[in-house]
Amino acid sequence: MGETKINIGPVHPSTHGVLRLVVTLDGDTIRKVEPHIGFLHRGVEKLVETRMYMQSPSYMEKIDYVAPLSYDELYVATVEAALGITVKDRAQYVRLIQLELQRIASHLLWLGTAINDIGQLFSVFMWCFKDRDIVLSLLEEATGGRMFYVNQRLGGLNRDMAPGFDKHAYKALDYLEKRIGEYQEYLESNPIFMERMKKIGIMSKEEAISLGVTGPTLRGSGVEFDVRENYPYYVYEKLHFNTQFENGGDCFARYRVRINEMKESIRLIREALHIIPEGDAIGMPIRLIGPQPKEKEVMVRRELPRGEGMMYMVTEGQRPYRLSIRAPSFINTAILQHLPKGHRLQDLFPILASVDTVMADVDR
């Protein structure tokens, strides 16, 4: 049988948005994958240049609609670094809690969609969605929004956590921890699941570093690197944070890293809630002419749910002169050119799912 080219996407149930893959098949074996991106390109980087600093956070949230708060925070932190504003003590804790909640929400959605991708197991998707809803309720109590938050302000937040948040949070976290444990037990005792995830899409440590992948995808290949530990921000240093990594380098390792990260996040939130100081967490109002930027150029990095996000900003007066965003999904999607080679067509989707891309994040 000769080589066949099939076109997957841009409208396809498993491409998580508008990703188009042109797959060259030899029988059932994948010879070449050519990802086509850009269907969702909105030119955020250019747009930001025409806006004042604090007009942009809501654009930033739309870069990654699965984890909007993380991008929001990353951008505001970049502006803070440029303007030389320090974040209030309590706000640092609250931001950390929100970021970790966002990470759990994002990973839960990932778990659901990934398992749906490997085989129509819609049950887990629905369960995860329901649990994600609990996290979103917590985020609603903490920020006031469910989907998009725009809660970060320079030096703090727009609104502090609602009273009684910690009580609800402890309860919800206990429940979530139980549920995540159940999912793990259920999935890892399922031979079909293990078969489809293990030894699929193996990426060695050297390959992973050369390919520049980030986040759980990098840590699944045995690289112990997490921005939260290697370049700590906020109060991560004060908490006992452990980088989660696995040595397998396959889809299963990447799945395992995310599961463990969720558990770690739950632990971190509990720890942060224990030692959170009282006080004021409200930042400057949004309608503001900021101080003149102190730095000509700044670079801020954060561990987003999908990997390491970085913003490089050149400032000029009241506007960014240039904002360059390192989107974790962008670089993670690029590995689709390399990973599925030699695998079966059926394995393409576990691999695609395991790198966890959000197309809006890829295209920006």
Partner: protein, 339 residues
């Protein structure tokens, strides 16, 4: 024999004897066919509803609630909607085959269902090789599915059709070997004889291994999850049905549900003692058993991910075929009466 009853019924009501036995036979076949189609439709309807509700409950959803009590009318509404839609034929499809293949598959399934018995006196024809006829007809399906997939001229459909054929062919062998062992045990390939042979011990008790093998192979034949490579929603969009329009899709749904009915009925007849059971009338027992098996199939769908193609084939050839042969030997041992 229900045919004869129908013929005599017609004769007594109309008050005259029809001209030739062939005409009698044709009329009786038509009436019986209509009855069975009603039966299948009722089963498909109930099964469709059970599947939706049960899967929804497993998903922590509600399923249909708005149409009728407990959403009972939802399937009817969907059916009407599907048939009210335009039937789109892709430009590169082979028109005749594309339109014909799905109805032919549906017809074959309807035909198989009609040669099966539903009770001690409830059957159309008593074929001495009924089991073989049924399974020979079932083995026609891969060819038709391949034609259907190929005819739509879509690459996803042809990949799906190829997978489907690969799967069906490799699972027919263990299926047939298990059926052979059932035949040996019952000393017949007649469904009635097989059910009668189970009056003391159901074959599930005598051949537990055979039952498990048969069930696995049957799920593969039905192409239900975890063997649903044919549809493979997340990879091949909708497999061989990617390009079909709504009316043909309705037919494919009918095929799917009829297949489940057929499968559950075969399991019940061959291993669960057919209509055998205390107190309740036989047809109630049959209905209960068929539904239990069908519900098990649904639960499987909601709790297992899809298997990999190579793994499915390995399971079929490396495990099922040798174990089926082992089961055949066990059937020989049982048949000799040593134990």
């Amino acid at each position: 024999m229900i045919f004869q009853n129908i013929i005599t019924g017609i004769e007594t009501t109309l008050g005259f004897t029809t001209v030739s036995p062939i005409v009698n036979y044709a009329i009786a076949a038509l009436v019986f066919g209509a009855l069975i189609m009603v039966l299948i439709t009722i089963f498909d309807y109930i099964f469709g509803w059970i599947e939706r509700k049960l899967v929804a409950r497993i998903h922590l959803r509600h399923g249909p609630t708005r149409t009728g009590k407990y959403g009972l009318l939802q399937n009817a509404a969907d059916f009407i909607k599907l048939f009210a839609k335009e039937n789109i034929i892709p430009a590169r499809a082979n028109r005749v085959l594309f339109l014909a293949s799905l109805p032919i598959v549906a017809a074959i399934f309807a035909f198989i269902v009609e040669i099966l018995p539903y009770g001690a006196g409830l059957y159309g024809v008593d074929l001495t090789l009924g089991v073989l006829v049924a399974f020979v007809l079932i083995s026609f399906i891969p060819i038709l599915i391949f034609i259907a997939g190929w005819a739509s001229g879509n690459k996803f459909s042809s990949i799906s059709a190829q997978r489907s054929v690969l799967l069906l062919i490799s699972y027919e062998i263990p299926l047939f070997v298990v059926i052979a062992s059932v035949g040996i045990l019952a000393n017949s390939f007649d469904f009635l004889q097989i059910v009668n042979a189970q009056s003391s011990w159901w074959f599930i008790v005598l051949m537990p291994l055979g039952f498990v093998l048969f069930f696995i192979a049957l799920i593969a034949e039905l192409e239900r999850p975890p063997f649903d490579l044919r549809e493979a929603d997340s990879e091949l969009i909708a497999g061989w049905l990617t390009d079909v329009g709504a009316p043909l899709y309705a037919i494919s749904l009918f095929i799917d549900y009829t297949r489940v009915f057929l499968g559950s009925l075969l399991v019940t007849l061959l291993f669960l003692g057919g209509w055998d059971g205390p107190v309740l009338p036989p047809y109630v027992w049959l209905g209960i058993k068929v539904l239990v098996v069908a519900v098990f199939v649904v639960v499987l769908r909601a709790t297992t991910p899809r298997m990999r193609l190579d793994r499915i084939l390995r399971l079929g050839w490396v495990w099922l075929v040798p174990l089926a042969i082992l089961n055949l030997l066990w059937a020989f041992v049982l048949a000799t009466g040593i134990i």
